[in-house]
Point group: C2
Chain length 324, copies 2
């Protein structure tokens, strides 16, 4: 029988678990609310994993190993979540062993954005076997990412490679929560894109924009509304969207300069804009990129949506298990 793996994606709101085949196909999945505190969260992770196994008409003995995608910082080698902005009160939690023991299966821990990158690389946008060097850029509340080189995930010496949201893109830019100035995620995350629209509306009260009606109705503005109104022709919304895409294109140029990969895929909430994101980023990329030689890196949309973390965590467990 084909080998099967569990992937668990631990988010701030929900825990997703899935049973994934040896070739990265999602067989069954389950989702539960995250809860709070390590004890409850681990219990819920186990619950979600068992639910997915049942929903797949399987038993736990059919599962070879378990991969866990978690917010960081964490130590993948030690299986420990050091702390997390999204999981208050977590401090040096040995998540890998807690989950592995409860399920009585070998378990592996990886950062959520890196897991998603590995998922897209093995079973999504980068699944073609000619792709060996791949970068994922996830555009959500923050901006994250993962790098695969020669088919292997680049972790870095302290598990903090591919912190793409914290590339400095404006030397004297705004101050980021991380302590740097001018980080990419201040200019190109879903939340910041919405905030920039609100900023433009506030500083020019007489400027016409269909986005004003949202504020008047008491709503906040996120990237989704910016996209919606930009598509309908609102000039201010278009200016905001264009700026975000320009900064993303700049990050893509720098990705090509650092690593010269075959493919860079865009994922996360903002990628729901589809071609409205992709074409705009590609437009600015062509404009900003060097003219010395052709850049082989394709820029594409990710294909796995919210399942990338689950599928990637399962694939990492599979590959780690095969290497033991």
């Amino acid at each position: 029988m084909e080998k099967k793996f569990i992937g668990i994606d631990l988010g701030g709101t929900n825990i997703k678990a899935g049973v994934v085949s040896d070739v990265g196909k999602l067989i069954a999945k389950a989702s539960v609310a995250t809860g709070s505190g390590p004890d409850q969260v681990v219990e819920r992770m186990i619950q979600a994993a068992r639910q997915a196994v049942r929903d797949g008409n399987l038993e736990m003995r059919d599962i070879e190993a378990v991969g866990i995608a978690s917010p960081g910082p964490l130590s993948s080698a030690d299986g420990i979540v050091l702390r997390s902005a999204n999981l208050p009160g977590w401090h040096n939690v040995p998540l890998r062993d807690l989950v592995g023991k409860a399920l009585n299966r070998p378990a592996f821990l990886e950062n959520d954005a890196k897991s998603a990158a590995y998922g897209e690389f093995t079973a999504g946008a980068g699944a073609d076997e000619t792709i060996t060097n791949f970068i994922l850029l996830t555009l959500g509340t923050g901006v994250g990412g993962g790098i695969i080189y020669h088919g292997r995930l680049i972790r870095g010496v302290s598990d903090s490679a591919a912190e793409i949201g914290h590339m400095i893109v404006e030397p004297d830019g705004d101050v980021c929560g991380c302590g740097q100035r001018g980080c990419l995620e201040l200019y190109a995350s879903a939340s910041r894109t919405g905030k920039y629209a609100q900023h433009l509306l506030a500083i020019a009260p007489s400027r016409a924009s269909s986005l004003r009606s949202l504020l008047a109705a008491g709503s906040t503005i996120d990237a989704r509304e910016v996209v919606e109104h930009a598509k309908m022709g609102d000039e201010l919304a278009n200016e905001v969207w264009d700026r975000a895409c320009r900064f993303l294109a700049l990050a893509c140029v720098n990705a090509a300069r650092w690593l010269d990969p075959q493919m860079l895929a865009l994922a996360g909430g903002m990628a729901a804009a589809g071609d409205f994101l992709l074409n705009r980023v590609k437009h600015h990329f062509a404009r900003l990129n060097w003219k010395m030689s052709e850049t082989q890196m394709q820029i594409v949309l990710a294909t796995l949506g919210n399942d990338a973390g689950v599928i990637g965590a399962a694939a990492l467990a599979r590959d780690a298990e095969h290497q033991r």
Copy 2:
């Protein structure tokens, strides 16, 4: 007898060749003027290689393989120099096979900055065996570099990874010869550092600076003069040097975010400033770098000087030969 390799570093002005031991020790070296046109240049490369072998009291049969470090763009896999700004008239020159056949030895071709990075990694600043992830930043007329991850050189799919001089560090910055705006090498190369000093002198004719005497004497100003005068307390020279070091520190922050390596070494003409470069870059790095978690990347000075390319090319030939 210990195995020996030849490294040849093809520069715009000189060709350096060396005999290098299996562990990266330079046994003998020779240098000749580069000449012009592929035929003459290849002849001179052979001449330099033979001279180094003779100077080492060896014969060509003692040499296992030959590594060639060349300006690019080039294809390492095909052994072809596609063209070169430093070698006028070169177009798709099969340099690897031309040199390999003339010396009757297996030959390997790599970009000069990547070769230097591999040299520093294997036998210089990064030689400690605990170092597996390493970045070299070469600061000369331009800015170049190389990345080693898991002990292997990162080439990229079109041999153009680690084009660190062409990272965009100022989104609306000056136009670079490559067609981009705001490339690192416009702000942190030796030549541009000198040019920025001349710019400051020109725009503020009444500003006092000891650098003015150089211009009055008909000299141009390069990074070397900037360093010299900054060390003597000249305020304008200090401002210029500080700006270059600030941009280098920003590149170091981004290097840590992309790849989280153990070490980043500074090499090339500007590294002759020693601690005056290193301490200033480290100062700005500490200031600009995130505060979320400690960054393990050490910033150091390279140790092999002008021999890095020769030693690195020889080491690449050694490792390629071992993998065959």
